[in-house]
């Protein structure tokens, strides 16, 4: 299952809070797709420090896309 969090029209740090809440409930094999207009440095730190795997992409309209999963043990 993919959970989409579109934070492009939300004021920071609201997107961060939504992603943190979704990470808590993220099941193995599921994915969170995050859409933002900026590079989320604080979120990357959280992912790095808490054992998540993620891929980043810059879409044509300037959207930063992150696809986050639980890292394989």
């Amino acid at each position: 299952m993919t959970i989409v969090i579109d934070g492009r029209e939300l004021e920071p740090p609201e997107p961060l809070h939504r992603v943190l809440a979704a990470l808590d409930a993220l099941a193995a094999g599921d994915e969170i797709r995050v859409l933002l207009y900026c590079h989320p440095v604080p979120l990357i730190s959280v992912l790095r420090n808490n054992g998540f795997a993620w891929q980043e992409a810059l879409l044509e309209d300037g959207t930063h896309e992150l696809r986050i999963r639980r890292a394989l043990a």
Binding site: E9, P12, L16, H17, R18, A21, C38, H39, P42, N50
Partner: protein, 438 residues
Amino acid sequence: MLSFEQAPPVSASFRFFLTAPWFGVAAGLLLAWDGPQALQSRWSPSALALTHLLTAGFMLQAMCGALLQFIPVATGANVWRPLLIANLVHPALLAGTLLLAISLASTRTELLPASELLLGAGLAIFCAACGLALLRTAATGISLSALRTALAALALTGVLGLLLAEAVSGRLALALETLTDLHAGWGLAGWALVLLAGVSFTVVPMFQMTPPYPSWLPRRLPGTLALALGAASVGGYAPGASWLWRPAIALAAASATVFALFTLQLQRRRRRPRTDATFAFFRGAMILLIAAALACLASTWGLDFAQAPGLPVLIGVLALVGVFVSAINGMLYKIVPFIATLQLPHGVGSSLPPPSIKMFIPERSMAMQMRLHFAALAMLLACLAVPQLARAAGAAFAVSCAWLAMNLLRGLGVYVRLRDQIRSDAAARGSSPAGPAR
């Protein structure tokens, strides 16, 4: 629940933010007390005290507090023990600036050594702590180059300030006018403007929903401004190099104008059409930055200060109140709620809705304070033509800064109430509150 624990405790930055406006209040009251004579010359005791209440007081307090939070959040670098750094730096800068302002206003040079010691120690600790964090980080954010350049310029501004204080006290024989221009140049264009630009590269797109700055601007602007200031320093002191002064000032003014024009252009292309107080503060600051740059150009290429004695005061009012107090004021209205929200992760099962940046300071109160700020600025500028307005302008500026302080205190009050509610909800559930709320 996961949380962003890299940010320093709220109190590390908030003490700086809550102190800064009161230096603005002090500056406004000093002008209201002293009246028209305060703005007659850049060298009047009151003008020197006003300048330092705004630069070493309002601006430095707000910028140091912002950097302690901005460095980890925007660049991923860690400042070593930020609470300890704040405990040492905040009182040193506070007391040092007050002593400096009293010394300058009353022309009592015997107070200068204590002020030099406090400001020198505070700046040295702050520059060392933030400099180490910025040098050691492996991160490569768009603001990093600007932050490094700004911090180096702050250290240099401090050293030039100490040399000036020694020269004013008669312990060093140095040409005061050139040294003062370089101290002001490195402080305003090297530290304050480069830091404003560096923070803007990250927060303008983030908070004002604009497209990003073109990638060459964050790469080139800090170095270009540093180059211009370096050339001006050589032009001011090296024999036979005085011709460098004018092109150096022109380069700095052009760089500032390019930054302001790009910011205004990005604001026009913002994705959300809503205009809030921060947006208006920033737009005003950028328009006034162009005006200040043009006034600097006029002072070096056309009119000289002897022909137009009001010009340095005009540049000072435009740059200090028009550009930096405006931009900082607008930035504080986003940074304070942002930090508060970041430190308030919503606990599972809490009775509160997820924290939002809009919960902390009423929009209407910020908008009204913004209007008063720009009215006070208009009165300050009008003082140059109608000096009798000085007392009213000073009073209006003092009220505006006090209103800013009240708005920030209100935001802090909401943070404390929400934090306590989250703790009490967590206690009722028999669990510890989620996240770093400190």
